[in-house]
């Protein structure tokens, strides 16, 4: 339960912190940290325009996307505690729920019959399928280290495996940040602020969404950031710490993550579109690097 609430709190501030960091980096004062949430609130109250080409799929997609993310939050624990629900293999369930949300966003985009949105959907599918193996290799390595395949058990035991497990924690923290960037369509794979439709991936898929549905999509995106910073925190926080320190540490990690994203987006350009597949393959490479580290830690490799 704690995890669930903390993810929501983190999600409230996350987009704001990114925006603020970017403003400061470019020499502006920037809006309030809660501005993105106010924008979403406003969107919820607005009317919508639906394309005549679209069908029920398009209208359902944002709802299903949000429901997927909310359900996947049920299995994410916090600080060595228990998640609301946990069972053997819930890591797989988590990954496939995110895939379910993506599935509906993709067919929702194709439902508009727009060439741009088709392009975005195609790219999103391609990138997602390249990220998936990296995530599963990470899950495999975590379950190799701890002997479990549920988030609750993995994080309960991860930091007690050995003193050096922090090495693996840092490596996978890096991997999670990269995966989060792809999942949430941020730089360097995708640029949420670009205004040239040809170069967009996720943003071009939601061109036709408006009002309440667009609000749902932004909420989903913010919650996803919350989930990933929760995973980060779980990898890095020793479960033996006192709760108060854990909360503080979680705050530091979330803010740090958001600031890092902001700084990255201020100083880095987006990858050339055609180079993205190669870039994403490096994620699998990092996952395999993690496997090497794990094998050395477990003394499987002399």
């Amino acid at each position: 339960m704690v995890g669930f609430i903390l993810i929501i709190i983190a999600a409230l501030f996350f987009p704001g912190i990114i925006a603020r960091t970017k403003s400061i980096a470019s020499g502006r004062k920037g809006p309030s940290i809660l501005q993105p949430m106010r924008d979403i609130w406003k969107l919820f109250q607005k009317g919508s325009v639906y394309s005549t080409t679209t069908s029920i799929i398009f209208r359902m997609a944002p709802t299903i996307g949000l429901a997927c993310v909310l359900t996947s939050m049920l299995v994410v624990p916090f600080g060595g505690g228990k998640a609301i629900l946990s069972f053997q293999g819930d890591v797989v369930f988590f990954a496939y729920l995110l895939a379910l949300g993506r599935f509906f966003m993709i067919i929702g985009a194709l439902d508009t019959g727009s060439s741009f949105e088709g392009m975005g959907a195609n790219r999103e599918t391609l990138y997602a399928l390249l990220v998936e193996p990296a995530f599963f290799v990470m899950l495999g390595v975590l379950s190799l280290m701890t002997g479990f395949s549920s988030f609750t058990n993995i994080f309960m035991h991860f930091n007690t495996v050995g003193d050096y497990s922090i090495l693996l924690g840092v490596l996978f923290a890096y991997l999670i940040i990269l995966i989060a960037m792809v999942e949430n369509s941020r730089l360097p794979v995708d640029d949420p602020k670009t205004h040239l439709e040809l170069t967009m991936v996720h943003e071009v898929m939601v061109l036709d969404n408006s009002g309440f549905d667009l609000g749902l999509i932004h909420t989903t995106s913010a919650l996803k950031f919350g989930i990933f910073s929760m995973l980060l925190a779980n990898l890095l926080i020793p479960p033996t710490w006192k709760p108060i320190f854990q909360f503080l540490y979680f705050g530091v990690i979330t803010v740090g993550f958001a600031v890092a994203v902001g700084i990255l987006e201020s100083f880095r350009a987006r990858n050339k579109m055609g180079k993205n597949p190669q870039y994403l393959l490096t994620l699998i490479a990092i996952g395999l690097l993690g496997l090497m580290v794990a094998l050395i830690l477990l003394q499987k490799i002399a």
């Binding site: 394309s51 069972f87 895939a99 993709i106």
Partner: protein, 658 residues
């Protein structure tokens, strides 16, 4: 169970030869229902254990039918798939009632029932001769079904090549039985256990793998599948893909049950082939424009996933990780069940599209969800299941295989860890690619704007929709309440070597599957809540309709949508070495004063089809053509050959050479 009854039932539809065409359906479905009810009720008791059943004329004879839980599971699946696809055929075949003659339709009906009965016999006969006879009848019945539209030249050739390839497989199975017979003196599956106990397991396993693998469609033996499935009528492709190719898996599993040693090697062989099969199938599926070809290749992918589960199970046995073996086997068996639910559903959906639009080329479709809402939603449900997305059944089987792999990781040495992590990686990749293939198919065929005018397209009738809804209901049931089904199939899993009764001790471990039910309900709850809030909020605001946002470009046209080909483009770039992309175009000549119409066509060839089937056959044809010089067609020459032959024999006998 009496064989006689089933055989008699199989002859019921022959009365169709004397009935008007519109009545054919009722007798066929009556026979199928009789077979289904009789065989299923007779087998209910044998679900949990081995039991000799009633015999020919009620007397014990050599035609012993024997059922265990594996047979029982398959009998249920066979009947389910065959009956549902036949109900669907009532609507699908209606346009053919006027174009086909009475006997053509009657033959089709007879073949439908015979396919069902022969498959039931395949899973019930243990003796080699009976099994092979049933196997042959199954092949012939399916051949007749594929050839339904034999007046089309393409279908004719596809049917012939199917028949030939199936017989190559038949001879491998026969050879396998003969080899075992030589050692043990028993002809049939019973010979395998004593044979495997004495001799090396791998060679005979490989022989059977080729024989049964041809039916199942393991790469590189799959080449008949993507051709035969689109050529057959849709209810037939549904039955063939849903259950008939599983007969190959059934045979393979029977062989696996008897294995005694070399588990690691056999597990790795199976695993490697299956990983290749899964990846190859799904990558090829992405490249297809023909909806039924997408589905055929995706069947190959799913056979790969089943094979992965089986292979991993044996690796688990070798590693002495009982939980891993158990989870992988359970995943594999459940995937057999799952695939025989969602693949017929998808084929029926594709058939409805073909019936309504007269095309299977996705690039000519689009926007069908408006014209055929039921078909579209059912197809989307089937696609979600096949992409292993919760809350559908496909997720459960892949989930079991995943946790099997994660479970096996602990305490293994480097070599095994590498194998397991590689399998995880490939399975994840297959999952992502499957989403690619099916979002593409749904998006291009059902969503967006119509690429060609589709005002004439109408939703199909209830006969065609009801079976599909039944399938979706079953799929959702397995997906939401997996523990019920897992408990049922655990008695099948108990038959794998070394797994035995310990299975039941691990059942509590599988209760994790019941947490999935809670999560599925939570998921449904979230959707309901969000929709409720959404409808409340949207009551007070303006909801407008407008054209799709063209990014400032005003002359938007349906042709500018992403097509199947453009979706596949990014995949083509990656999979170039594996797929031969053919470009067939006719450029305009500058010097021509009256230029003809230019044309441009792209397609993709299966490299395996070229290497394994086409090239050897072409070489053989070339060789035989040289021999055909003798075949002049003149009767005098043939008399001359005969005389020369007799003369040759005479000479040879004279010198005591023969």
């Amino acid at each position: 169970m009496s064989i006689l009854f089933l055989i008699l039932a199989a002859f019921v539809p022959t009365i169709n030869f004397f009935l008007p065409r519109s009545r054919h359906f009722y007798l066929t479905i009556l026979a199928q229902l009789l077979v289904a009810l009789y065989s299923v009720t007779a087998l209910v008791g044998s679900w949990t254990g081995e039991g000799e059943l009633l015999l020919f004329f009620g007397e014990p004879s050599t035609w012993a039918l024997s059922a265990d839980s594996l047979s029982a599971l398959f009998v249920v699946l066979i009947n389910l798939v065959c009956v549902l696809t036949s109900i669907y055929s009532r609507g699908y075949l209606s346009p053919y009632l006027t174009t086909k003659t009475r006997s053509e339709l009657a033959i089709h009906g007879v073949a439908l029932v015979w396919l069902q009965v022969s498959m039931i016999f395949v899973v019930l006969f243990r003796s080699g001769f009976d099994f092979l006879a049933a196997w042959e009848v199954m092949t012939l019945a399916s051949f007749v079904l594929v050839m339904f539209e034999a007046e089309k030249r393409e279908t004719f050739w596809v049917g012939l090549s199917y028949l030939i390839q199936m017989h190559v497989g038949f001879f491998f199975i026969l050879a396998g039985f003969v080899i075992a017979y030589n050692e043990t003196g028993i002809f049939g599956f019973a010979a395998l256990t004593p044979y495997f106990a004495k001799a090396s397991n791998i060679p005979l396993f490989l022989v059977f793998l080729v024989g049964f693998g041809l039916k199942a469609g393991f790469v590189p033996l799959h080449t008949w599948l993507p051709n035969a499935h689109p050529a057959a009528p849709s209810h037939v492709s549904g039955a063939m893909s849903g259950i008939m190719i599983k007969m190959g898996i059934y045979g393979l599993v029977r062989v696996l049950f008897s294995l005694q040693q070399q588990y690691l090697e056999i597990g790795l062989i199976l695993l490697t082939i299956s990983l290749l099969t899964g990846l190859w199938g799904v990558v090829s599926a992405i490249l297809q424009k023909d909806i039924k070809k997408v589905l055929a290749y995706s069947s190959i992918e799913n056979i790969g996933i089943i094979g992965m589960g089986l292979g991993l199970g044996f690796v688990g046995l070798y590693l002495q990780s009982k939980s891993m073996a158990l989870l992988a086997f359970t995943g594999a068996v459940l995937h057999i069940v799952n695939h025989s639910l969602f693949k017929p559903l998808l084929f029926m959906g594709a058939g409805s599209v073909y019936k309504a639009t007269h095309t299977r080329n996705a690039d000519d479709l689009g926007g069908l969800i408006k014209r055929m809402p039921h078909t579209a939603l059912l197809f989307i449900a089937g696609s979600m299941a096949i992409c292993a997305l919760p809350p559908f059944n496909g997720f459960i089987s892949e989930f079991l295989i995943y946790i099997g792999m994660f479970d096996g990781l602990l305490g293994q040495s480097l070599r095994e860890i590498v194998v397991l992590i590689t399998s995880t990686l490939v399975l994840a990749l297959i999952g992502g690619l499957a989403i690619f293939a099916f979002t593409k198919t749904i998006g291009v065929a059902f969503l967006g704007a119509p690429r060609k005018p589709n005002d004439h397209v109408k939703e199909v009738d209830g006969w065609m929709l009801v079976p599909q809804y039944v399938m979706v209901a079953l799929m959702l049931f397995i997906g939401i309440f997996p523990s019920v089904v897992v408990k049922l199939i655990i008695s099948v899993v108990a038959m794998f070597p070394l797994v035995d009764a310990s299975v039941y001790a691990i059942v509590p471990m599988l209760t994790s599957t019941s947490t999935i039910s809670i999560l599925a309900l939570a998921f449904g709850g979230f959707i309901v809540v969000i929709l409720f809030i959404r409808s409340k909020v949207q009551q007070d605001v303006v909801i407008a309709q407008g054209p799709t946002w063209g990014c400032g470009y005003t002359a938007v046209d349906a042709k500018q949508q992403y097509t199947s080909t453009s979706h596949a483009d990014s995949m083509m770039a990656i999979s170039k070495p594996l797929v031969k992309v053919t470009k067939d175009f006719d450029p305009l000549d500058k010097m021509e004063f009256f230029p003809h119409d230019g044309s441009f066509k792209t397609g993709s060839n299966d490299v395996f089809e070229d290497l394994v089937t086409a090239r050897p056959t072409n070489r053989l044809t070339k060789l035989l053509k040289q021999a055909a010089i003798l075949q002049t067609g003149l009767i005098q020459h043939y008399v001359l050959y005969a005389m020369l032959f007799i003369f040759g024999i005479l000479v040879l006998t004279y010198f005591n050479l023969i």
